[in-house]
Amino acid sequence: MINQISVFLENKPGTLNNLTEILANNKIGIRALSLAETKDFGIARLIVDDAYEAITVLKDNDFVARLSPVIAFEIPDQIGGLNKLMTEFSAAKVNVEYMYASLGSKGTNNAYMIFRVAHTEDSEAALIGRGLKPLTQDDVANI
């Protein structure tokens, strides 16, 4: 299980830039990012190298942000890679609320898949039971 940071953003020019600037100034690396939007506001969801540091600096800068548990997997970046993973999710009856992906860095042939699921702990245990290896917080820091 790893920590994802969700940040409330108003839907207007410059708000995402305010967020990235604070992360950059505090030397926080973004590993994966997705943006969910409505007509009026958005939620940025991020996986970063140091989630606790990130949430502290964001709160200090008057952002509304929170940590949520997500599970992440490294899968081979090849046809059928995601399908194989989802087959396991399906067999373990894990319900996905939302997901996003990030390609591995140059040189590796892998991709990272991040999932927000219902009943995170139980779901993760079920997937581990089927032989899958979710990433840990340390894995994320070292990507």
Binding site: Q4, F8, L9, E10, T38, R45, V64, S68
Partner: protein, 433 residues
Amino acid sequence: MERYFQKEIECASREEIKAMQDEKIVAQVKHVWENVPYYKKKMEKKGVTPDDIKGIDDLYKLPFLSKADLRDAYPYGLLGVPLDECVRIHSTSGTTGKRVVAFYTQDDIDLWDDCCARAIVAAGGTKSDVCQVSYGYGLFTGGAGLNGGSHKVGCLTLPMSSGSTDRQIMFNQDLQATILCCTPSYAAYLGERMKEMGYGPDEIPLKAGIFGAEAWSEEMRHDIEKTLGIKAYDIYGLTELSGPGVAFECSEQNGMHINEDHFVAEIIDPDTEEVLPIGSEGELVFTALDKKAFPLLRYRTRDICRLSLEKCSCGRTHVRMCKPKGRTDDMLIIRGVNVFPSQIETVLINHGYAANYQIIVGRVNNTDTLDVKVEMTPEMFTDNIGDIEARQKELVDGLKAMLGIKAKVILVAPKTIQRSEGKAVRVIDNRKI
């Protein structure tokens, strides 16, 4: 046990109060007739002379004064004494765009200070208390009024004025202030900031707060009481009548006792100007019985309110006024419906949002639009858009139930709605009518 600043007055019998008012109104009308030609003309126009006023029951015969009169007579037209008898002026904040200048003799200031002292004692204040006055000092009456009252009670007075929030908190902690006087929106902001700095209610030395000068809801009171760990008391007043202290809350926290030895209240129908029986809702009208420099008779406050003469368990006998529902000029007419900002505030707080909000009224295709901007709070935020939208919809439904019209709720980032250190600017009306 309930304590009083001037028990013999505050707990006088209704007969004694009436006798006091009968005597004072006769003298006051005579004073105004002789010294304020502007009002004399109004009386003549209505065919009233001082001889017609034999007691407080004849009050209804006198003409009204309105904000427009104060503007017409600006600056000296309603002055009741020579300027060299006056020792100070105060002026309204101009939130409604029209400044009023009020004059005071030393006696006027003394009676005003007494009124504020009554409020402080009713809130539990004694000479051992440390009273932090965080109303603005200056032309605004808040700072001067509570400062004067605090002196009369004998509290150690911290004349903080408004603003410099971190310094306010430092003095509050270092000098262990026990009573806070400021606007409710500033009290809420101070509480928010103290919470951020890690001070829980037990680490905050305050025991009571006296908050006024703007409309606030019962829900906002509970919020402030919880955050600061205090009992929060309402105080009412207006510059035209002296300032805060025209009426104040007692330990019952159920309506504000009007200082009837100095101010007589009436409730009228704002359209017909007819005096309504006690208990009716209508516009609050005040007559100043003792003030000499700025002696307003039958001044229309534009506050919508109700009076009660029900016996109060605190022992005070003076009539109580409810929290004004709103000023007639705060009232917005949106799609033909009367909307008071305080109603919107009630709904927001009931739904867990901060009392900091902005109401934006506009007009699109000849139809009024009502947008309510509220700040996202850490408690309300989740990573799930559906949850946030569901809460947003609950709020829209809550507003619809309260107001009868649909409002759009706009969630904005924290601290993006301006905090007020004086009076909050809650309403932006962009309609060009």
